[in-house]
């Protein structure tokens, strides 16, 4: 770090140089008779050289002139006069001055270089220490502290602005430093967006000079480093820019490391949470299914007993069996919803015929649908659609079950499908009371029920699951009333099915 000496010390150097010249004169005076004048010139040159090495260029130049004057005054005849008797001494003076100036220049250059090298080494060491400190940092607050400590030595006020999204105007979170004015915030934003240094000075009508350095890591810009020198010296700030840029890039690398470490840790946590959820769900599912399976089986055994039980006992056993079954159904819906709500269901999508799940779901619900009039309007030449068959079957089953639940025996239930331009359009409607018109927009919410009083068994899970599944497939689902009943319509994106090579004629 280059620091210039205060002016009083600078004056001292000149005095010292002058004193050295005087001292040389005093030392050489007694030797006037013994030494040749040429050797006395050497003594003065030595003095100039010493001044150049120890005191710098200015004092050495002064020493050169002063030395020539002293030499002339005290040693060159006529002595104690600046007049010169022999003109050849003028050559001596010129050479003496020239040698003095050149030496002083060279020596001064050398010492400046040394000083510079030392300063650079100091800077490097400081940066190295900064890097080492930052290497141990585990949180952004710690990084801020380290940066403040480092830049504080340069009398700078430090703020770290970390990009965190948030508001459009000031998408940062500020660590340390004073409050930034609106104008300063906009400068910070522009440094961040343009990935370039923005510098302002106190003339710009702001509190103080301030420089905004983007914290640019290889992948992206992580934020902005805002620096305000407390001494409000723009030139100094410019001088130190290479150092400040180095600091900014060290900070950026550290912040990126923290970012990735954080992300990795979060990922690990998420995986662990996911594993826990899955294992809870699967053990729940096993532990609840087993007794229900037993209940259904044993009750059914009683129903089919030979010789038959009394009629009311058989009937009771049948009710137990059916209730256990519907409880199982509810459990499956609950578990499915929990799985869907976790948000990371992997759809087992394949190109397949929609017609197939129409057949399989109506077969699954055959007993339930037995006393309704089921009308299926599915054209024969529907294109293949890419969907998860198990989940879509659940959608159809839930819709058909609802249609049965909210319609009287003998009512007509219609399952309709057709290929639209971009999507397969499916509708299930029934002849019944329809959805309550004031709450029709809530029927897809979890635990919303069609009727205020739960006169009909159900949980309000069914439609919520349908919606989650259809949304996961990139489709849409709506509920509406039509004259004389309710209708739920959904779509599935069509896409382009894979090509099929037709076989040669048989």
């Amino acid at each position: 770090m280059r620091t210039l000496l205060p002016s009083d010390r600078r004056g001292g150097r000149y005095l010292l140089a002058a004193a050295l010249c005087v001292l040389t004169t005093l030392g050489a005076a007694p030797l006037r008779e013994l030494l040749d004048l040429a050797n006395i010139v050497m003594l003065f040159l030595l003095t100039v050289f010493v001044c150049a090495v120890r005191l710098g260029r200015g004092p050495a130049v002064m020493a050169a002139f002063f030395g020539v004057a002293l030499f002339d005054f005290f040693f060159v005849p006529p002595q104690l006069s600046l007049a010169v008797a022999d003109a050849q001494y003028l050559v001596t003076f010129a050479v003496m001055l020239a040698v003095g100036l050149i030496t002083s220049h060279l020596a001064a250059l050398l010492s400046e270089r040394t000083e510079e090298a030392q300063a650079r080494e100091q800077e490097t060491r400081a940066l190295y220490e900064l890097a080492r400190d930052l290497g141990g940092a585990l949180a952004i607050a710690q990084v801020t502290d380290i940066a403040r400590r480092f830049l504080g030595r340069l009398d700078m006020d430090v703020s770290l602005l970390i990009a965190e999204g948030g508001s459009e105007v000031f998408p940062f979170r500020q660590y340390g430093g004073r409050h930034l004015s609106e104008l300063e915030q906009s400068f910070a934003r522009s440094a961040y967006q343009r990935r370039s240094i923005v510098e302002t000075d106190s003339l710009a009508g702001m509190g103080a000079a301030i420089v905004f350095l983007p914290l640019a890591a290889p992948a992206h810009v992580l934020g902005v480093l805002a620096l305000a020198p407390q001494r409000d010296d723009v030139d100094e700030l410019r001088q130190q820019r290479p150092l400040l840029e180095a600091v900014a890039s060290l900070l950026a690398i550290t912040l990126e490391r923290l970012h990735y470490a954080d992300a990795a840790q979060r990922g690990e946590l998420q995986v662990a949470a996911e594993r826990l959820r899955t294992s809870i769900l699967s053990s729940l599912s096993h532990d609840l299914r087993t007794p229900l399976t037993t209940l259904v089986g044993l009750a059914d055994t009683l129903v089919h007993r030979q010789p038959a039980l009394p009629e009311d006992a058989t009937e009771t056993a049948g009710i137990i069996r059916d209730q256990a079954r519907s409880m199982h159904h509810l459990l499956s819906n609950l578990l499915e919803m929990a799985r869907l709500q976790a948000g990371n269901v992997t759809l087992n999508k394949e190109w397949q015929a929609f017609e197939e799940i129409v057949g399989s779901s109506t077969r699954l619900l055959a007993t339930l649908l037995a006393d309704r009039q089921l009308v299926i309007e599915v054209p024969r030449q529907l294109p293949l659609v890419c969907f998860d068959a198990v989940l879509l079957e659940r959608v159809l089953c839930n819709l058909l079950e609802n249609a049965v639940k909210y319609s009287p025996p003998g009512a007509r239930i219609r399952l309709f499908a057709r290929a639209g331009e971009t999507a397969l359009e499916v509708a299930v409607d029934n002849d019944g009371t329809g959805f309550p018109s004031d709450r029709i927009d809530q029927v897809f919410n979890l635990f919303a029920r069609g009727e205020q009083e739960p006169a009909v068994a159900g949980t309000g899970l069914g439609l919520a699951i349908c919606k989650a599944i259809i949304i996961a497939h990139g489709g849409m689902i709506v509920a509406e009333n039509r004259p004389g009943g309710a209708c739920v319509r959904f779509t599935l994106p069509l896409g382009t099915p894979p090509a099929v090579e037709e076989e040669g004629s048989a």
């Binding site: 599912s285 299914r289 256990a324 397949q352 015929a353 057949g359 399989s360 299926i376 068959a389 198990v390």
Partner: protein, 229 residues
């Protein structure tokens, strides 16, 4: 049961489920050997008298799939799997490993016995040749390669015919998509599931009364197909 008394090995770790399964089998005239672990189950099946194995996939001591693979190395006994409805992957793995059919929990006595009867019938008649099949109003003559419906001959393409033949040969059995692709199209087409969907659709349109609600070529969603005469 009209045939000689069948012997069924029931491998299930839940005693109550085992109890009602064996109870139902008993009423059907079958004797049952109860096994709470896979090890006991394998030993019971190896004892030589068994005609059918009913296997719960969630056993404590052994993976159900390993049980099937193990059994299949030395026995062609029919295997009926009991599994949860949502566990399609397990079912497919079990069927591909050699299981014959599955039943989703919870199930009633009627469903269980229907599956058991079908499997036993096929097991006992497995040696017989079946050159002619009849289902609904369709007749298939495998010797003359003729398929007719309501007396009128129907034209099937080679692939449609092969698909129908594989299904007829495995009546009542669940055939996974993979298995059917392999049998009809060969190993290169294993990942081309949409071919199967298209050809099953065409077969249904030619042979089923209502292709949207098929009575014979049934979809086992997420698993495969089952042909039911």
């Amino acid at each position: 049961m009209s045939e000689t008394q069948a012997c069924v090995v029931v491998v299930e770790d839940e005693p109550q489920i085992r109890r009602f399964v064996c109870d139902a089998l008993g009423k059907e005239g079958c004797t049952s050997l109860q096994a709470a672990t896979a090890r006991i189950g394998l030993d019971a099946a190896a004892a030589g008298r068994a005609d059918l194995v009913i296997l719960d996939l969630g056993l404590p001591d052994m993976n159900g799939i390993d049980f099937i693979r193990d059994l299949r190395t030395w026995s062609p006994l029919p295997i009926l799997i009991l599994s949860a409805r949502s566990a399609e992957r397990d079912k497919i793995a079990a069927l591909d490993a050699g299981a014959d059919d599955y039943l989703c929990k919870p199930f009633g006595v009627g469903e269980l016995l229907a599956r058991v009867r079908a499997l036993l019938r096929r097991h006992w008649h497995s040696g017989e040749s079946m050159p002619r099949h009849q289902f609904g109003d369709v007749e298939v003559d495998l010797v003359r390669h003729v398929v007719s419906r309501g007396g009128a001959e129907i034209h099937l393409t080679q692939i449609e015919y092969r698909l129908l033949a594989v299904m007829l040969a495995n009546r009542g059995k669940v055939l996974t998509h993979r298995h059917l692709m392999q049998e009809v199209w060969g190993p290169g087409y294993r990942e081309q599931g949409h071919y199967l969907r298209i050809y099953v659709g065409r077969l249904r349109q030619k042979l089923e009364l209502d292709p949207a609600q098929p009575q014979h070529i049934l979809t086992e969603t997420g698993v495969g197909y089952r042909f039911q005469p």
